[in-house]
């Protein structure tokens, strides 16, 4: 499960951010998972809970709110925005490749209007952190 490796990254980033903001305890973190990455929120919540160090009071009781962000792509040549349907536009191999490296959407998806692979991922790529709430050291 490479989800655990991404969960490691989230915990490392939360600890880094919390320390830079002088937090003593992180209470809640919003984690956004792009639809391209094809990770179920419940799976990722389990991974986050499993990898956080129980001995670190900074994150040991943090609640994670994991949400899936729909994918939106914008074609560069025709400038139109679209939402691909991964179930119909990508076969099993392509979906798995994009799951590992979301940028490989460029290898497998095409603009429905002009068939170009030259697009920007506007939203829904991979794992990002949203709001981080915590108690500040006094």
């Amino acid at each position: 499960m490479h989800e655990y490796a991404l969960a490691d990254a989230v915990i490392a980033a939360v600890r880094e951010t919390a320390r830079s903001q002088r937090m003593s305890r992180v209470l809640q973190v919003e984690v956004r998972i792009g639809q391209l990455q094809s990770i179920r929120p419940a799976t990722f919540e389990n991974a986050l809970t499993a990898v956080r160090p129980a001995s670190d009071a900074l994150v040991s009781s943090t609640e994670f709110s994991v949400v899936t962000v729909p994918v939106r792509l914008r074609c560069r040549p025709c400038n139109r925005e679209y939402a691909p349907d991964l179930d119909t536009e990508a076969d099993e191999h392509a979906t798995e490749a994009i799951h590992f490296v979301p940028e490989l959407a460029h290898a497998y998806l095409r603009c429905p209007h002009c068939d170009s692979p030259d697009f920007d991922i506007v939203d829904g790529r991979g794992v990002t952190l949203g709001r981080i709430e915590g108690e500040i050291d006094t």
Binding site: L6, A12, D120, V127
Partner: protein, 241 residues
């Protein structure tokens, strides 16, 4: 929004003793061959060696080494493929021979993803096969892999030397550690890149000859190791310790 991936790169590479990026200013100068030979010779010398193909749009290291490509095994991350003692990571493990046209942010995104999820484990040496030029991946390597040491590849061509000069200037400006200059495709006794090494006070490493037998050995690590080019790269490995 915070991208969490950069925060874990240091930990992913914590077991790697040394990172050597094989770079040069232009495509077609033999960076991939030098990278692959460097990695296979180092592994033959008993070093625990990894090879990361950072040419994300035109990966070829798997072809040079004859490594079977397919989705990696995963367990708390993904494992590089093992190929004759070299741990190989390439985007081709996911995309095969399907073209992956990436630009700008997509190149950075793919690089960060692979750096964040690849489990290199304990390595004495990780060789990075850099893409040509001073573009996104070169800048990302400087940013995210600051402890890289650079092995600069040149050739006798005046055109190539002009681009290598720019690469060396940029690395110097960024205070990157340059291990030395290697002239690839040497023929005869003339080594025009020596002047470049002297100008920038770079270590002049053993040259790699133009070796007609290399093409026939592509895809066969044992065959590659028998080539004159591999023997020359072996002298570089020995010199760099």
């Amino acid at each position: 929004m915070i991208d969490p991936r950069a925060a874990i790169i240091g930990e992913r590479l914590a077991g790697v003793r040394r990172i050597v990026a094989v770079t040069g200013g232009k495509g077609g100068i033999g960076k991939s061959l030098v990278s692959c030979l460097f990695a296979t010779v180092a592994a033959e010398r008993g070093l625990r060696t990894g090879l990361f193909d950072l040419d994300l749009t035109s990966p070829t290291d798997h072809v040079i080494l004859g490594a079977p490509m397919g989705f990696p095994s995963e367990e708390h991350g993904i494992d590089p493929a093992m190929c004759d003692g070299v741990r190989l990571m390439s985007i081709a493990m996911f995309s095969g021979s399907t073209p992956a046209p990436l630009r700008g942010a997509a190149l950075t995104g793919a690089l960060l993803e692979l750096l964040a999820i690849t489990r290199w484990g304990e390595l004495d040496l990780l060789v990075l096969d850099m893409p040509p030029g001073l573009g996104d991946t070169a800048l990302d390597a400087m940013r995210y892999l600051p402890r890289c040491e650079y092995l600069v590849v040149s050739t006798p061509s005046i055109v190539v030397r002009e681009t290598v000069r720019r690469m060396v200037q940029l690395l110097g400006e960024r205070h990157a550690s340059i291990l030395g200059l290697v002239e690839n495709f040497q023929s005869g006794d003339v080594a025009p890149s020596h002047e470049l090494a002297a100008e920038f006070q770079l270590r002049w490493l053993p040259g790699v000859p133009y070796d007609k037998s290399l093409e026939a050995a592509i895809g066969d690590v044992a065959g590659l190791r028998r080539t004159d080019a591999a023997k020359a790269v072996g002298r570089i490995v020995d010199e760099l310790g």
